[in-house]
Symmetry: D2
Subunit: 139 residues, 4 copies
């Protein structure tokens, strides 16, 4: 598989967490995956910037979808671990996460992702390890 | 400061992200901080388990509050970076995150956190670096 | 297996890297593994403290041996990834790394480790992911 | 400062750890830093591949030098934390680490690095956080 079929992206966008935080996959192919979210007051922590969980969820998803777009149909991937640096406060507005595969092993895959705000400035970057597994397609 | 005043915890629990995901600080003192969340279908990804962003947000908060409980009044702390291992799928039900300080430097603080489900099994563990800063109290 | 046989520790202590940096396993059982090194001028970087590579090697080994002590005979483990915080400068003198298993899955194992100097102060802490594999015993 | 003066590289190459493991900086400018090492039996662990400490030291140095090349003269940088993925076994032969700056803040800098063997294959990748400090030049 190269580009996931549109209904696979629909499946992801329809799951609970994506709806809860208002995040959606807008693109995924062999090169990269792109997730977008509009940061609102509902995403903020006590200091007025987006909570780390929102950013972590965005980058986790961007890496996971970039990997999924490379796996054969019927395989899924789970996050083994991830590491994120928060490099600038995330204020209300659009936030885009782009994930890429750094290394694809037999079962373990290493990916990276960056989040950028409306001005193109990087607000966070991540590197993570994922595990491919056999899964029934859920479309 | 040792134990944060109750109204400080109230401030955290009232912020947008905590309300959005239904997470709340239930305890924070010099030893540890405890955050609780009831995982529901709204927190799930496409495979039926809690999204990494939910778990990351819980552990980020648990570490941050454990640090905040040790800082002088008027100081805040921001996450510089964090690394999480996901060790078991998180299913609907209660999830508790407990954070502790591993090393308190002048400006940088290192903390760890664990998340456990209803059966006490560890579902994720994290290690992160935080930066203390001067902040106006927000109570 | 619980405690690795003495000749297994001998095998590790005899390998090239351990001899090069002067590091040795002094203990490994189901609870923890302990690695010791005497930091000398040969381990220092340009600022007069031990190079991160020395500390990383110590903690990597402490985690790996703690895991190995829990695996059945004939299995080995490889580091998938590790994350280290450096919390204090490491000066010439004894440095001890202690590793523990945080989570043992079927193939992937998560461990942590701490390094402490002669005064008992923590100088670094790590969390890492390892992969078990079948290996011929090398004693 | 942009390119570090040759005598600064000489200072780094002359320090104890670089001599012990046989590693040397061959290039450092605003874009990247490059460290090289010839892996020999002295760098191996019990399974016959380079010990994680050797690879971690290489990537730590590659990130640190890439940062140093951007700092004003008289400033140094210390590793706050780093995370490494090991993506392929490192066998005897040449190993090259290249580091780059991902984000340069006022005091904290985020960098990444990759190690590649003779065939150009990536054997490890890292993301780390560093702290700039005032240091007397040591040339």
């Amino acid at each position: 598989m190269t580009t996931p079929p549109a209904d696979l992206l629909d499946t992801w966008n329809a799951c609970g967490y994506y709806e809860l935080v208002g995040m959606r996959v807008t693109h995924a192919d062999e090169e990269s995956a792109r997730i977008e979210i509009g940061i609102t007051p509902a995403h903020l922590q006590a200091y007025g910037t987006a909570h780390g969980g929102v950013v972590a969820g965005l980058l986790d998803a961007a890496m996971g979808l970039a990997i999924l777009a490379r796996l054969p149909a019927g395989q899924g991937c789970a996050t083994v671990e991830m590491k994120l640096n928060f490099t600038a406060p995330v204020l209300p507005g659009d936030l885009v996460g782009v994930g890429r595969v750094l290394h694809q092993g037999r079962r373990l895959v290493v990916a990276s992702a960056e989040a950028r705000g409306p001005d193109g400035r990087m607000t966070a970057c991540a590197q993570g390890t994922f595990q491919a597994f056999s899964a029934e397609a859920r479309s």
